[in-house]
């Protein structure tokens, strides 16, 4: 009667039925908007279209603050104002929430271009950091299990120190503590348009290191769940230890790590919001700035919360799909933490 146990703390879990349909519909709209905004202001695409004789279709020349909303913000605001003034005999209980809803819509419509830019940067930070993190995580995990007494201790210390301290403190360390930002700005490539600002690079460095420690833990647990007989079997056909790890243990173990890895992806998507505190204009930072400009803190944080939910739920659903795709029969059952 009970369904299979699922103990890992994934953000969303399995979604089924009508809820799933709603999530898919809303998620589809959300990503259409995000990708449309991205394409509309993309330098490269604009260059391409200009080259084929369509210079004004895309607007990559506009700074984020000059971009036009796609929804009629003024209209929403107007409705809210009208409702508020000539409420007539209608109960306050009905009118007040309505006024608020229209004000919320007006704010959302107005902030939409800036929020899209932020959401794009959020995705960008997450994807790059997860990707780079993997290149540290795999060697760290392998060293931890198969390394000598010293190298495996170093690997252990690395993962434990990173996992034992707050991400926000790590961001401060890299941004305010180390002269990393100044160092990065010194490179000439940084002046090429389209490159992220130095703060964003620092954020990617910090996120890469942070996520590498968590990814390493998932991978280590996964590698350890591979039957030790597999490595023995590999050695017995004449593979070296390293070859055995590379061709037999890793291909199996990394599959076991997928549930944990996708979990970490969603986790970082949420925690990338902390980059706001080192001035990276990602989604949360954009919202905070709009809050300071308009003093509508509650409303903008509500909107940004919904946007994060859309990002997280769609990503989690995508990751669930990915998990089911890549499992081989008999290899890789969900095992993970966090």
């Amino acid at each position: 009667m009970t369904e299979a146990a699922e103990t890992r703390g994934s953000a969303v879990g399995r979604v089924g039925g009508r809820k799933r349909q709603v999530f898919l519909a809303v998620g589809g709209l959300f990503w259409t908007w995000l990708l449309a905004r991205w394409a509309y202001h993309n330098t490269l695409l604009d260059g391409l279209l200009t080259a084929v004789g369509l210079p004004d279709v895309l607007r990559s020349d506009l700074g984020v603050s000059q971009r036009e909303p796609w929804l009629p913000a003024d209209w929403f605001a107007g409705v809210a104002a009208n409702l508020a003034t000539d409420a007539g005999g209608v109960s306050v209980l009905v009118v007040d929430p309505l006024v608020w809803l229209f004000e919320l819509a007006a704010l959302a419509a107005e902030s939409e271009p800036a929020l899209a830019a932020g959401a794009f940067l959020t995705v960008y930070l997450t994807v790059l950091s997860m990707f780079f993190g993997l290149f540290i995580a795999v060697p760290a995990a392998v060293t931890r299990i198969y390394g000598g007494p010293i190298s495996s201790r170093i690997s252990l210390a690395y993962t434990e120190l990173i996992r034992g301290t707050p991400l926000l403190a790590q961001l401060f360390f890299f941004y305010f503590g180390l002269p990393l930002a100044g160092f990065i700005s010194g490179f000439r490539v940084m002046e090429v348009s389209g490159m992220p600002r130095a703060a964003a690079v620092v954020a990617i460095v910090a996120f890469t290191i942070n996520s590498s420690a968590y990814q390493a833990e998932y991978i280590r647990a996964a590698l350890q769940s591979v039957d030790p007989g597999q490595l023995t079997a590999a050695r017995s056909v004449g593979l070296s230890r390293l070859q055995g790890i590379r061709h037999v243990v890793l291909p199996q173990g990394l599959r076991y790590a997928i549930p944990g890895w996708t979990n970490e992806f969603v986790y970082l998507l949420k925690y990338s919001s902390l980059a706001a505190f080192i001035t990276v204009p990602e989604l949360f930072r954009r919202a905070r700035n709009i809050g300071s400009d308009t003093f509508q803190f509650t409303d903008i944080y509500l909107i940004v919360g919904l946007l994060y939910l859309a990002l997280v739920i769609t990503t989690a659903m995508l990751m669930n799909r990915l998990e089911r795709r890549v499992t081989i029969p008999g290899v890789g059952m969900p095992a993970g933490r966090d």
Binding site: M1, T2, E3, A4, A5, E6, T7, R8, G9, S10, A11, V12, G13, V15, K19, E160, L161, R163, G164, T165, P166, L167, L168, A169, Q170, F172, F173, F176, G177, L178, K270, Y271, S273, L274, A276, F277, F284, R288, F297, T298, Y301, L302, V304, G305, Y308, L309, V312, I313, A316, R337, D338
Partner: protein, 237 residues
Amino acid sequence: MEPVALLSDWQFVVSNWRFLLLGTVVTILLTLSSLSLGFLLGFPAGAIEVYGDGWLKSAVNTVGVILRGTPIVVLIVLFFFALPIPRLGTVPVIDMQMNAFIAATLALGLRSAAYQGQVFRGSIQSIASGQMEAARSIGMTKLQAVRHVIFPQAVRRSLPGFQNEFTIVLKDTSVAFAIGLAELLTRAERLYLQPGRDTAVIEVIIVISAIYFILTFTTNRALDRLQQRYAIPGGNE
């Protein structure tokens, strides 16, 4: 100010140990209050997700998805700005604003409840259905069976998950920085923002990171002990 400015950055951090200690107290208080709230609500939430039905189960599930799917910083600022928390002033000595503390506790605690609920739900579901049937077959009511047979086993199986949750909450108290609560990280910033102390950033951050690390490390070891102590003899869970 003169004599202070002559100190090296490390000496500067050490001479402010009391200032950081008070921040550590706030961090610990916030961790404890959030975890307690998380446990008090997460426990029933997990049970409802398994045994509940209809709108209640669906509501718990939806609220859980929202809490788990939103970044903690958004939850903290949202609770801080949106909830009508009365201005209760500041706790002396530790310089803790009560309304920021309450907002942070609610955000961290409710989100933790959402995660602890998942842990607990998974533990309940991992208990063989024969346990429930055996309990019912000696005449226990469903409630008695859940209380005396399912829960005691589920709680034990949840301990590793709760332990994990402890570490996460402790680290995430630092996000209360966003609403200026005088916890460890906020106090660290106040230290290096003092005039002429911008060179001490690295030293301050290293020291507070060490404090966080010691807190997570020692508590984890203590909880490991506790788990061994309450493990069921011969059981591999």
